[in-house]
């Protein structure tokens, strides 16, 4: 599904979430240091980390790289990332209002760019 909310457009609440993302660009000039980007997004009921990344990509930062595929069941591991230092699948990671989280690429894999990794 593409939509962040239902057909009637309901369920936005006033609370926000802060997401910091470790960025990595493989072109030589950037290779030395990874940087970090911070985004503040609105919380909606049932918001998963993957949908939050889609929100950031679609509305705040089109340069963000992450794995767009999601099975939404937590079975395919496509969206595996590190959340506050813990390996998690973004599609089944539920966010809470007021969360402050740091997202990094999965550390056991090779980084292509930002959160995109390969074995």
């Amino acid at each position: 599904m593409d939509r962040e909310c239902s057909r009637d457009g309901s369920s936005t609440s006033g609370n926000e979430i802060e997401i910091r993302i470790r960025r990595f660009n493989p072109t030589p000039k950037d290779r030395e240091e990874a940087r970090e980007s911070a985004y503040v997004i609105p919380f909606v009921e049932g918001l998963t980390l993957h949908r939050a990344l889609e929100y950031i990509y679609n509305r705040l930062d089109a340069t963000l790289a992450f794995r767009p595929y999601r099975c939404d069941k937590g079975i395919c591991m496509s969206c595996l990332v590190s959340v506050n230092g813990k390996r998690q699948q973004a599609c089944i990671t539920l966010l809470k209002p007021g969360d402050h989280i740091l997202i990094e690429p999965d550390r056991d894999r090779t980084v292509i760019r930002d959160l995109v990794t390969v074995p």
């Binding site: 599904m1 918001l47 990509y57 292509i112």
Partner: protein, 570 residues
């Protein structure tokens, strides 16, 4: 020459890493051909098979010995409302069990009864119980196919977005695409190409398919000269969640929930409105839409799927849920939703695309060396597909396409690709980096197109709205697409993928709308408000599309096999 062009050589190129693509690659490699499989994203992390619901129809007759391939064939034809191609339906019916046994030999398990027979349940439109439950669903089908593919020595390239099939004198010369990781063009020289890139349900904003099902393969096939057939036929899944909103788009298997678990589908007034025997999905969608349009919908614009029971009967429902859909039941529990206590609001969403590339019963398109299989191929199911027939379709036609593609490759000498054609395609890819006045973000354009298709060419169709959709699509392509610009990043640039996808989605949307406009009747999943009746006198016909002199040409052909009607060119 194109800068940084990475050139590979193979005998058979398979595009698409889902069920059909992997099966095609296995079969082609079995004959000793060199096989290369290109997948837009990594295998097991791409395509629709991975997320497929656990329902796989096959006429084994384990639950009812009266069942056989002939009866299954009759049901497919009846379900297809006259548009299923008998030769293809015949192949699906006759070869289904054998291909399913192949899957078992690769290590796929299907649920069995205590006596060792296959568990088989009846699905809507099937007169006999045929529905197998693959253990752990579609993901494990792809996992086992992937293992087998590796054993057979298939070379797999992941994160490779194919954009164009190269031809020379009506024959396949190879294909070109974008290496998403590096951001560089890749040319694959190949004598045969199998398009197994899946369907195009992502043309609509409300769908239950993964992000990669954008119909790239149909447009590549069309551009190479192959025909498209009945692409106005979109299977809308009747019961996807619309509320609570955090489960939006989750498919709820109505066959299992209503027939096995004993649930009910209720309108906003808590009344049942389905007939006692669950109808096929096209009829179900029409019945749900009748409730909605006559003002009997739920508060969020759907109907209630209710398996809840009073306390004393809950344990029984729980047991049934654990038996028939354990993964889904547990997943919902984790999200705080207990089906035994509360109903969900559901409505139809785009689920499976019935039309596609026209193939003969050997999966061959009209271009020499170009084959198609799986959801990317059309004319198999007709105007509606019976539940559980998508997964066996991937196996039966995947295997056939692989077999024929390898035979073709072994019997032909390679034809040279045209350097100019490669240059044009590579420049097109690069052109998105050009600076634009008033640039447009491709993911924004994609969302606009999906909204347009849902509102004006979605479930309920009429001439006025379809014409408006067509006008807007043409405008989007000539004005908006020209302004699409992307950030100057080569490695894994999602905007680049979006730009390449949306440019094909615009072409395909135009063709879908033209077909929907032309079919002035209601049949299967095609509902015309202005032509509400099925018209067998004038419309027992296929709608075909071909590229002629760089233009979209549509014509109809009798579905009874009486020959073509003269083309109607744009």
């Amino acid at each position: 020459m194109v800068k940084n062009l990475d050139i590979r050589k193979t005998d058979v190129l398979v595009m698409g890493g889902g069920g059909a693509g992997c099966r095609a690659a296995i079969e082609a490699a079995s004959s000793g051909c060199r096989v290369l499989l290109a997948s837009k994203f990594p295998v097991m992390k791409s395509g629709a098979t991975v997320v497929a619901e656990s329902f796989y129809s096959a006429p084994f007759g384990d639950a009812d010995p009266e069942d056989n391939a002939d009866r299954y064939f009759d049901d497919i034809l009846r379900g297809g409302c006259g548009l299923s191609d008998p030769a293809l339906a015949q192949r699906l019916a006759r070869e289904n069990c054998e291909r399913t046994r192949d899957l078992e030999s690769y290590g796929v398990c299907f649920k069995r009864e205590e006596n060792g027979r296959l568990f088989q349940m009846r699905g809507p439109g099937h007169r006999y119980p045929r529905g197998l439950l693959p253990v752990r669903g579609g993901l494990w089908i792809v996992k086992r196919l992937h293992q087998e593919m590796k054993r057979k020595g298939v070379e797999v390239i992941e994160d490779l977005l194919m954009t164009k099939v190269l031809t020379n004198s009506g024959r396949v010369a190879g294909a070109i695409g974008l290496d998403i990781r590096q951001g560089t063009p890749v040319l694959i020289e190949s004598r045969a190409v199998v398009i197994a890139t899946g369907g195009y349900s992502r043309l609509w904003s409300y769908n239950d398919v993964p992000c990669d099902c954008t119909g790239d393969g149909l447009v590549m096939g069309y551009q190479a000269g192959a025909d498209l057939i009945d692409i106005e036929m979109i299977l809308f899944y009747p019961t996807a969640v619309i509320h609570p909103s955090f489960l939006y788009g989750l498919e709820m298997p109505h066959g299992l929930l209503l027939e096995q678990v004993g649930g009910r589908l209720l309108n906003g007034r808590q009344e049942e409105f389905l007939p006692p025997h669950l109808p096929t999905r096209d009829v179900m969608v029409a019945l749900i839409y009748r409730e909605l349009s006559e003002g009997r919908g739920s508060s969020h614009g759907g109907v209630f799927l209710d398996v809840s029971q009073p306390e004393e009967r809950r344990e029984d429902v729980r047991n049934k849920l654990r038996t028939y859909l354990p993964e889904k039941y547990n997943y919902l529990l984790k999200k705080g939703v207990d089906l035994t206590r509360e109903p969900l609001e559901v409505a139809p969403v785009a689920h499976y695309t019935l039309g596609g590339l026209r193939i003969d019963s050997n999966c061959q398109t009209r271009i020499g060396g170009l084959f198609a299989a799986g959801e990317a191929a059309g004319n198999i199911h007709g105007a509606n597909r019976l539940a559980g027939n998508a997964l066996p379709e991937t196996q039966v036609f995947g295997a056939k396409a692989g077999e024929r593609a390898s035979q073709w490759a072994q019997g032909q000498s390679p034809v040279p690709w045209d350097d100019a054609e490669v240059m044009v395609e590579a420049n097109l890819m690069e052109s998105f980096f050009n600076p634009r006045e008033k640039p447009i973000n491709p993911s924004w354009l994609k969302a606009r197109l999906q909204d347009l298709m849902w509102s004006y060419a979605g479930i309920e169709r009429e001439e006025r709205k379809l014409k408006k959709a067509l006008e807007e699509i043409v405008r989007m392509r000539s004005e908006d697409m020209e302004r699409v610009a992307i950030p100057p990043i080569r490695e894994f640039n999602l905007q680049w993928i979006d730009a390449l996808e949306v440019s094909k989605m615009l072409d395909l949307s135009e063709m879908v709308v033209r077909s929907a406009l032309l079919r002035k009747e209601t049949r299967g999943h095609h509902f015309r408000l202005d032509y509400p009746e099925r018209d067998d006198r004038d419309w027992l016909k296929h709608i075909l599309i071909r590229k002629e002199k760089e233009r979209v040409s549509l014509w109809t052909e009798s579905a009874a096999g009486t020959g073509p009607v003269p083309p109607e060119t744009k």
